[in-house]
């Protein structure tokens, strides 16, 4: 029998016992909905975690320090890496070399220093951090009040909210547009001739000069992007990286520079290497290690996260599938009942020339149609559940005064896969009834009353 006639007959048969077949199809739909809802939760949470982490800027960043800086930092990874070059100083030359590596977007130092600012005549101790322009798209700036720096060399500042509350406990937002005075210690290199006897004075390599700089507050953020990973504390006052570099403010590793042969040559405590995508991290990280630096990224943590979510999805899928397994028993029951009811009809079909495979295909077609309709209704039902989960979560979060998030998501592949899975399960459930119907003895079937 041709496929179109087969589907026509199958649809006719399904319409015949409409209530029973609808209930069976609904059972499949509920099974598929349960599967879709479970998986949408898994996928949604995975998306949420991945998005949050990638927006943090940590997953496409490599933190580079001089190898002598932290022997134990990332040491395990170093042992498994190929042989590396001798330790290199993390200076301006190294920064240029790192920037020239393939798939590297940006290389910037971690400039942060403790200092004091003056606002409304009062002093406030704080930590200043330089912010690279490439971090502009990080999640930390997504919900900021005000705006990002107008330019890389703008004399502007972004405050971390807790620090802003210290400056203006009642109305931190009113700080936007206000001016503050940054007081800092500038490191000034001494002329070569005055540094003749290095051992004679602490100022053999450079001197420290107090300075002030006016900054306009343009924004307030909840958190610092990637803050504190390579430094000693969160920056509470963020300024453009280029401005931070021109300040030449004394940092904690300046004392170490005194012990070096060329103290006037500036070295970095750490550099952050931003790569184009998370997939480039491994290759760039290995190259940096071979160049003689210590490199560390959150790539391994990211991999583990994916494994955790894969297992999570699998478990959710298994629980979701249980309902579908129960629904498949409904299909078997419905089709076996149909054989009993249509025993004589099967006999007639065989007497009129239907081959065993025609009868088998007819029952498979009925199972497939129930699977298809069940799959479609299940996806729709699952989508409603997904919307309900997201709506409920948003309502709960808004009551907690937290921003709404999407905890469940149904991607297109899940829609297609759920319907295909529903049909596959229905066909599997139809195997026994279909072969039983095909094997029916036509003489016995025609005799049946």
């Amino acid at each position: 029998m041709k496929a179109r006639d087969l589907m026509d007959l199958a649809a006719r048969n399904l319409r015949e016992a409409l209530l029973r077949n609808s209930l069976t199809t609904l059972g499949i739909g509920v099974g598929v909905a349960s599967l879709v809802a479970m998986l949408s939760l898994g996928v949604g949470l995975q998306n949420l975690a991945t998005e949050r982490l990638s927006r943090s800027g940590l997953f496409n960043a490599i933190f580079v320090t001089p190898r002598t800086n932290f022997d134990g930092f990332g040491g395990r990874a170093e042992r498994s890496s190929p042989p590396e070059a001798a330790a290199q100083p993390l200076d301006e030359d190294a920064r240029h070399k790192l920037a020239a590596l393939p798939n590297v977007d940006d290389v910037y130092p971690d400039i942060r220093f403790p200092t004091e600012i003056r606002y409304a005549g009062n002093p406030y101790p704080t930590v200043v951090a330089g912010v690279a322009p490439s971090t502009r798209n990080d999640g930390a700036f997504e919900d900021m009040k005000g705006a990002f720096f107008s330019g890389p060399s703008a004399d502007e500042a972004i405050l971390q909210i807790e620090f802003a509350r210290r400056l203006s406990p009642q109305q931190p937002d009113s700080l936007l547009g206000q001016e503050i005075v940054l007081r800092y210690a500038e490191r000034q290199a001494l002329p070569p001739d005055s540094a003749g006897d290095k051992a004679a004075a602490g100022a053999a390599g450079f001197s420290i000069v107090p300075r002030e700089k006016k900054l306009r507050i343009v924004g307030i953020v909840e958190t610092e992007p990637g803050g504190g990973f390579g430094g000693f504390g969160r920056g509470r006052l963020l300024i453009p990286l280029q401005v931070a570099e021109t300040l030449r403010a004394a940092q904690t590793n300046d004392l170490r520079d005194l012990l070096r042969d060329t103290p006037s040559k500036r070295t970095y405590e750490s550099l952050t290497v931003r790569v184009k995508g998370a997939s480039d991290v491994k290759a760039v990280e290995d190259t940096i290690k071979q160049m003689g630096f210590t490199a560390f990224s959150l790539l391994d943590a990211s991999r583990n996260l994916n494994v955790v979510f894969a297992v999570f999805d699998l478990l959710l899928g298994i629980f979701g599938s249980l309902a579908l397994v129960v629904a498949s028993l409904g299909i078997i029951n419905t089709l076996v009942m149909a054989i009993l009811e249509r025993r004589r009809e099967i006999g007639v079909l065989k007497a009129l020339g239907a081959a065993d495979r025609d009868v088998r295909r007819l029952f498979f077609a009925e199972a497939a149609v129930m699977g298809l309709l069940g799959g479609i209704s299940g996806v729709l039902l699952g989508w409603l559940i997904e919307r309900a989960i997201n709506f409920g979560t948003s309502v709960y979060l808004s009551r907690q005064q937290l921003p709404a998030i999407t905890v469940a998501a149904i991607p297109w592949w899940m829609v297609v896969a759920a319907i295909a899975f529903s049909i596959a399960v229905s066909l599997a459930a139809g195997i026994y009834p279909a072969s039983r119907a095909a094997r029916l003895d036509p003489v016995e079937a025609l005799r049946y009353e």
Partner: protein, 241 residues
């Protein structure tokens, strides 16, 4: 419908031939020999009545001829092709293309209209859609039922239902028509109508008709040849009295 449309019965050719045909089955501890060593030959175009009491084996023999059942031993040939050696797909083709079957209980599918019932064998034989309507009308016209094609079986009288079943049996243009008690569920007048139709089909189309019945007078009136069966054997085989 013209005789040219209904296959080619072939003058002098054999439509059905059996050779020491037997069909037996186990019923508890008893071995039932439903058909026991039957050898016969039915020429193409003949109208044969298989007579006998209940359990005589006539319906079993008809089922063997239809390819609905398989012999336990012996051979059964339809147009010299041994049904005993056919696989289930070949038997299905035999039922679809070589024979048409009419049952005592009509066996029309109740949820389908007459048109859909008559069309069913065409669907199974994978006849193109655009050809089906004409073939259905042609078969319905032969049994004079064109006006009732849109009705469901439940809306028709017994005679009309049997005529519809006859149209369904003819629609694939078989060469052999098998009828199992075709008048068994009908009153005398309606039964005669069906028998007249069968005779007309036999005479105008030259179709071989093998009819199982226990009504001897009717068989003598319409069939060319009467085969009397008892205990699975042929008791007598000859022309009408």
């Amino acid at each position: 419908m013209t005789s040219a449309n209904i296959g080619n019965p072939g003058n002098g050719r054999i439509a059905i031939r059996t050779d020491h045909l037997a069909r037996q089955y186990q019923m508890g501890s008893t071995l039932v020999r439903a058909v026991n060593d039957v050898t016969l030959s039915i020429p193409a175009g003949e109208f044969v009545a298989l007579l006998g009491s209940s359990g005589s084996g006539k319906s079993t023999l008809l089922n063997l001829m239809a390819g609905l059942d398989r012999p336990s031993s012996g051979a059964i040939f339809a147009h010299e092709r041994n049904l005993a050696e056919m696989n289930s797909d070949e038997l299905a083709k035999h039922r679809s293309h070589t024979i048409g079957i009419v049952f005592q209980a009509f066996n029309l599918l109740p949820r389908m209209t007459l048109e859909e019932n008559v069309e069913l064998p065409l669907r199974l034989a994978e006849v193109e859609r655009n050809e089906r309507t004409a073939r259905v009308f042609e078969a319905a016209e032969r049994v004079r039922l064109t006006a009732r094609l849109s009705h469901r079986p439940g809306e028709l009288s017994g005679g009309e239902q049997q005529r519809a079943a006859l149209a369904r049996a003819l629609v694939n243009r078989p060469t052999i028509l098998l009828a199992d008690e075709p008048t068994g569920n009908l009153d005398s007048a309606t039964g005669d109508e069906i028998m007249l139709l069968l005779r007309e089909i036999n005479e105008t189309l030259g179709m071989t008709i093998i009819m199982v019945t226990h009504e001897r007078p009717r068989a003598e009136r319409f069939a060319h040849r009467l085969i009397l069966m008892g205990d699975g054997k042929i008791l007598s085989d000859g022309g009408r009295a």
